[in-house]
Amino acid sequence: MKTLLAFLLPCVLLAAEPLPPCCRPALAAGQPTDKSLYLLDSTWTSDVIRKIKLGVLRGRPQIVALFFTQCEYACPILVEELKGIERKLAPEVLGKVDFLLVSIDSKRDTPAALAAFREKRQLTRERWTLLRGEADDVRELAALLGVNYTEDARGQFAHSNLITLLNADGEVAFQHTGLKQDPAPLIAAIEKAAGGAQR
C-alpha cells in the first residue's frame, strides 16, 4: 500500500501541471511486437515520477536520444537540434509524438540532475521524458539503438550522436546520424509515424 501511495502521490501532486509522457497511464494493449524496444524489462527513473518501464511510452512515436547532463560538447547541440525539430513540427504532428532523453551517466545523473537539466533547457513537460537507468540497462538500450559510448578519464562520455525515431509500437522507424545534418528526412519520418499514433 505504501509503495502504491509513493507511486501515485507524485502523479496526484503534479496533476496541476501537464503530465510528461512517461507519467501517462500505460496503454492496455497486447504483447509488444518482436522488434519492439518495449520488450525490454528494465526499470528507469524519470525526473518526475519514480520508476517506469519503457513500455509505458507505447502508443505514441518517440524521438529518442542518449545524452548526459554534464556534457560539454555534443549534447547541448544534440538537444538544441531536437528542440529545433520540435519547433519545425506542425501542431497536429506535435500532439502525437514525444521526445525521450536517456542519460548514459548513471553515476551523476540523478532525478534531480535531470530535473535541473529540464529546467535549464526548458523542455516542456507534456512532451519530454528524461530518464536515468542502471549502467547495465543503459548499455543494453544503447546497444539496441546502435549508440556506442565510452567514458574518458575526466568523466566525459564520447558517444555516437544518433537520433532514433521509434514508432508507436516501439520499433526503430528511422535513425538520424551525426550533428548538423539536414533534418528533413527525419521530420518526414516523424510525420509518417505520427499517423500511427494510438493516442
Partner: protein
C-alpha cells in the same frame, strides 16, 4: 581446540581461497592494469582492472543447448527478433537438435543478448572489453604476451587465417593465467562491445572525439604493431547487439 583458533584457521583458509581460488572451469585473473589500444587525448593511459574470474574456454554448443532447454524463450523458434537476428543458432538442426554441430565446439551464431542471458543464468556475466583484452594479452609463459615470441607467432597465424568452415573443438593451449582459446577459435562478445569509439570507416556517426576516427584512428593507438587488437576493435565496433555471426561466440566472467 579453541573457537578462536578454529575461526583463525577458517579465516586463513578463506583468504587463501580468495587469492588462489577460481570456480571450476574458471581462471582467476589477478589485479592488473589494462592499457587501451585506442586513446583520445583525454582518455586514461591505464585502466585498473580488479581481479576477476574468466571461463577457461568459450561456451560450447553443448552448454548452450542445456541453457535453451531450461529457457525456451532463447530457443531458435522462440527468440524475439529484437534480441537475435534471423541467423541465430542457424548451424543447429532445430531448436533442441545440434545436427552436424558438435557439443564441444564453441557456440556461435549467438547474439549479445543471448550471451548475456546465458551468463546471467549461470550466475556470471560477460567480461568487459578491458578484462577480455587483458586476458587475451597474456602469453603462454609471460603475462605480457608481447614478450612471448611463440605466443605472438601463434596469434598472428590465426588472425591471418580465414575461419575454417568447421570450427575445431574448444581446448587450445592455455595461457599463463590458464585461459584457453582467446585466440584461434572464434571472436568473442564483451559486455561493452559498443564502447569502442572507433569506426573502421568514415561513417561519421560518432560526432565526438574526431581524432579517434578514420585515418586518425591509428594515431591514438598505443601499439600500432598490435594488428590483431586493431582487428578486434574494428570488428567489435561493427557489431550490433542482435547480430549473430558464424565465428562469434563468447565466454563468461565473474567478479571474484
Amino acid at each position: 581446540m579453541s573457537v578462536r583458533l578454529a575461526l583463525h584457521i577458517a579465516a586463513s583458509f578463506l583468504a587463501l581461497c580468495a587469492v588462489r581460488g577460481a570456480e571450476p572451469g574458471m581462471a582467476a585473473i589477478p589485479d592488473s592494469v589494462y592499457r587501451p589500444l585506442f586513446r583520445g587525448e583525454k582518455d586514461a593511459k591505464e585502466v585498473p582492472v580488479p581481479t576477476f574470474q574468466l571461463d577457461v574456454r568459450p561456451v560450447t554448443n553443448g552448454e548452450f543447448l542445456a541453457f535453451v532447454r531450461e529457457h525456451p524463450k532463447w530457443q531458435r523458434s522462440q527468440v524475439k527478433r529484437l534480441f537475435a537476428d534471423e541467423r541465430y543458432l542457424a548451424h543447429w538442426a532445430s531448436d533442441l537438435d545440434l545436427g552436424q554441430a558438435r557439443a564441444e565446439q564453441p557456440v556461435t551464431n549467438v547474439s549479445w543478448f543471448a550471451a548475456k542471458a546465458f551468463s546471467a543464468s549461470r550466475g556470471k556475466r560477460l567480461p568487459t572489453t578491458a578484462e577480455w583484452e587483458l586476458a587475451a594479452g597474456a602469453g603462454f609463459t609471460a603475462r605480457d604476451g608481447a614478450k612471448d615470441a611463440e605466443f605472438q607467432a601463434e596469434v598472428a597465424r590465426w588472425y591471418a587465417t580465414p575461419s575454417p568452415a568447421v570450427l575445431p573443438d574448444a581446448g587450445g593451449r592455455a595461457n599463463v593465467f590458464g585461459v584457453r582459446d582467446l585466440h584461434g577459435l572464434v571472436w568473442e562478445w564483451t559486455s561493452d562491445f559498443n564502447s569502442a569509439m572507433v569506426t573502421g570507416d568514415a561513417r561519421g556517426d560518432s560526432g565526438l572525439e574526431r581524432q579517434l576516427f578514420c585515418g586518425a584512428g591509428s594515431v591514438g593507438a598505443k601499439d600500432t604493431g598490435n594488428f590483431p587488437a586493431f582487428m578486434r576493435f574494428g570488428f567489435r565496433s561493427s557489431l550490433r547487439a542482435g547480430y549473430t555471426v558464424h565465428n562469434l561466440g563468447f565466454r563468461c566472467a565473474k567478479t571474484p
